[in-house]
């Protein structure tokens, strides 16, 4: 039947077949690579782990059950614990809020100097980008641990660590937002003799502000998690309370703190998606 087809159709048919073959070879190779990675990873994990996965899996619900049983035995006064740990939660949120504010400010300045459409010098842009890369790549924990050793246990090292990380992470997103703004308003401002600062104020910031705010709100959510984690290593706040209560096996207190944390994060998640929607709605 093939011979009855015109020559160009046979060519297309053959091309299609060879393409399909290459494609299936590629999919086969990637699936094989995936399986190899998973298998070798499981071997690494199995040798590195204290308990084998088959021993641990059935014990998965032990801890949650322990926690609930413990807090059930604690009785009706459990809800008072929520009030007891509220100040710690507020101090953690305070840490996150302050460092987000400062980090955003720093990120804004960094991003201006690392945007190609605002800075003519390529070296300046490159240097500021590398600075942001390094700030971003260090996990907050590493900076915080070193600073905690140097400055002693307080909230300050955590705040500094989060500021550094936020400046790097947001700076990159901000500079991408700046580089994607519409050129026309900037050129229009330039044509009527506006200075560099005025161009940024009325040409760039006005365009990029909704995106800036969106990213900042997302960061705030991330930073609440980060400041909780840094509490574990000595920065205070609700993280430290969680750590001590877990160590002392106070189930009711642990559950209360977890409840506070999870409800804060979920509330913030909804709030930030609401803000985001209204902001982007404004933009378009």
């Amino acid at each position: 039947m093939q011979s009855s087809l015109p020559e160009n159709l046979i060519k297309i048919e053959n091309n299609l077949k060879s393409l399909t073959r290459t494609r299936s070879i590629y999919s086969f190779l990637s699936i094989a690579a995936l399986i190899a990675v998973i298998y070798s990873g499981l071997i690494v994990a199995e040798t590195g782990n204290a308990t084998s996965i088959w021993v641990g899996l059935p014990k998965f619900f032990d801890y949650p059950v322990d926690l609930f049983v413990g807090s059930w035995e604690y009785g009706y006064r459990w809800n008072l614990l929520l009030l007891e740990y509220l100040p710690d939660l507020i101090s953690t949120i305070n840490m996150a809020l302050f460092s987000t504010a400062m980090g955003t400010l720093l990120a804004f300045f960094l991003s201006i100097f690392s945007s190609r459409n605002l800075i003519k010098s390529k070296t300046t842009v490159l240097i500021f980008r590398r600075i942001m890369d390094i700030c971003r790549s260090f996990p907050e924990l590493v900076i915080a641990l070193v600073l905690l050793y140097l400055l002693g246990k307080s909230a300050l090292p955590a705040v500094i660590a989060i500021i550094i990380h936020t400046a790097g992470a947001l700076g990159k997103l901000f500079s991408e937002a700046i580089e994607n703004v519409d050129k026309n308003p900037i050129e229009g401002l330039e044509s009527c003799g506006a200075s560099w600062f005025t161009r940024i104020r009325f040409g760039v910031v006005t365009q990029a502000l909704p995106l800036f705010l969106t990213y900042t709100i997302l960061r705030f959510e991330i930073n609440i998690r980060a400041s909780t984690i840094l509490g574990f290593v000595g920065a205070g706040g609700i993280g430290e309370q969680l750590y001590t209560n877990i160590q002392w096996k106070y189930e009711a207190d642990t559950i209360a703190i977890m409840f506070l944390l999870v409800s804060t994060i979920i509330a913030l998640d909804y709030l930030s998606s609401y803000w985001r929607k209204s902001l982007i709605g404004l933009k378009s």
């Binding site: 690494v44 994990a45 641990g56 801890y63 302050f98 907050e140 924990l141 070193v146 307080s154 909780t228």
Partner: protein, 469 residues
């Protein structure tokens, strides 16, 4: 036209309402008040009290330099100990111990002077000489004369020539400290004399103090492994090289690289597992695939819960079940990101173009094939780019989970910081982490750009799509 005329003529566009003006003023005032409260409550102003530049510069020095200790007890002046970083396990055999038959191994900066004293030469051209009953410092910058330190009758150290002491010598009742710069330090106590001599660089990085390959250096050792006689007759040079490198007692390369591998696998397997779980679940949570509202709502709430319970809390729960180790990290990452990826992907599925699916339907394909060829090709680039993005951020997360107790490089780092002395190891591990994170970042950015064109476009697309919902 003056201001009042403008307001009168254009009353419809000029805002003069008191409340709308005050709103922004109150906002700014509120921010300022908050910042003041935050600065006070977080003790920001106390930073100068806690920050001691001397201590910090010592730590910083320790990250890129190493030091040798020379210790002499006044009671046993013949038994001078020269050691690397003051460790008992890495002592040089000094020139004064030559007769003991030990291998002759002493640093070239020590020598025996004409009166039998031990001379220690410093980079600044000066010497510290350890005699049986005194310590002298000669030829140091800013001082022409030789300074002599002795013990008085009560056993307290004192300086013989007290006139015009340089500023960098601090004399207290029980101790004389000589520290002209960060790189040299002589401390005279009533019991002993301790000399610290700093050098730039990471010493014994490739092979540790006692390694048979140490005298060769790394390049010679590598060339030895391809040719030349066996250093250790029982083992080939190449295996010896690998073995000595990995079992380095000072840098613990084997342990640290294994921990790094564990951390990478935690992030990799966690993200993969999340992708494998989240991708199919996302289909069941999307309204254009699953008609049952009940199933969709349950899955949506499940995603929210998984995401809302932070990976910190998940890792605590898994830590109890699996003990310290990579499984804890893998499952904590996998569970949290199943929620995140599931939510994002179900939104992406709902935002797909219907026409492609209708096109497939018109050929008579069944529902499964419609989804396979109508939806998956549209969302696959977003899915892969999101997964890669989470892989990169999970690498950082795995370090943190590790320090919480799951093991890996995070725990090693925590341990090294808590010892408070091995800052060079802290630096080494930080650089390794930095390298891995930057590598992951660049790779995932490259793949993402290849898949969806511009990266920012992808991020904005995502946000715009989120907003639609």
């Amino acid at each position: 036209m003056n201001r009042s005329e403008i307001i009168k003529n254009y009353s419809d566009i000029v805002v003069t309402k008191f409340s709308s003006k005050m709103w922004s003023t109150f906002l700014v005032l509120g921010i300022i008040v908050y910042l003041i409260i935050a600065i006070l409550s977080l003790d920001i102003l106390q930073i100068h009290k806690k920050w001691s530049p001397e201590r910090a510069s010592l730590f910083a020095l320790d990250t890129y330099a190493h030091k040798d200790h020379v210790t002499m007890k006044w009671s046993e002046p013949d038994d001078i100990i020269i050691s690397f970083e003051g460790s008992r396990w890495s002592q040089y055999v000094g020139p004064y111990q030559k007769s003991d038959g030990l291998p002759e191994r002493y640093p070239e900066w020590t020598s025996i002077g004409p009166e039998g004293e031990t001379k220690i030469s410093f980079k600044n051209g000066g010497f510290a000489n350890l005699y049986d009953d005194k310590v002298t410092i000669e030829n140091w910058p800013d001082t022409k004369e030789t300074l002599v330190f002795r013990l008085d009758a009560q056993g307290k150290p004192y300086v013989e020539n007290v006139d015009n002491l340089p500023k960098w010598i601090r004399v207290t009742e029980n101790k004389i400290e000589v520290r002209p710069s960060l790189y040299e330090r002589v401390q005279v106590y009533s019991k002993k004399v301790e000399v610290h001599r700093y050098n730039l660089g990471w010493n014994y990085f490739w092979f540790d103090f006692d390694s048979p390959l140490e005298p060769y250096g790394i390049w010679n050792a590598i060339s030895l492994s391809f040719s030349g006689d066996r250093v250790d007759p029982n083992i080939s040079n190449f295996s010896l090289l690998i073995q000595e490198f990995l079992n380095n007692d000072m840098w613990h390369h084997g342990q640290i690289l294994w921990a790094l591998l564990e951390t990478i696998f935690m992030a990799l397997l966690g993200t993969l597992l999340a992708a494998l779980l989240g991708f199919p679940l996302a289909f069941f949570a999307a309204y254009n695939v699953t008609p049952f509202k009940f199933v969709r709502t349950i899955l949506r709430r499940l995603f929210d819960t998984l995401r809302g319970i932070d990976f910190l809390i998940w890792s605590l729960i898994f830590l109890r079940a699996f003990g310290p180790g990579p499984f804890t990290g893998i499952f904590a990452i996998a569970i949290t990101d199943t929620g995140t990826l599931g939510k994002l992907m179900s939104e992406a599925i709902e935002n797909t173009e219907e026409k492609q699916q209708e096109g497939v339907e018109s050929t008579g394909a069944n529902k499964t094939l419609q989804h396979r060829f109508g939806i998956i090709p549209q969302i696959l680039p977003i899915f892969i780019s999101q997964t890669l993005y989470y892989l990169e951020s999970n690498t950082r997360g795995a370090v943190i989970i590790g320090a919480m107790g799951a093991g890996g490089i995070g725990l090693q780092l925590l341990g090294a910081i808590n010892t408070g002395t091995s800052w060079e190891n802290v630096m080494y591990m930080s650089l390794l982490i930095l390298g891995v994170v930057i590598f992951m970042d660049t790779m995932s950015a490259k793949v993402r750009r290849a898949l969806i064109g511009d990266e920012t476009l992808g991020a904005e697309l995502q946000l715009a799509k989120m907003a639609k919902k």
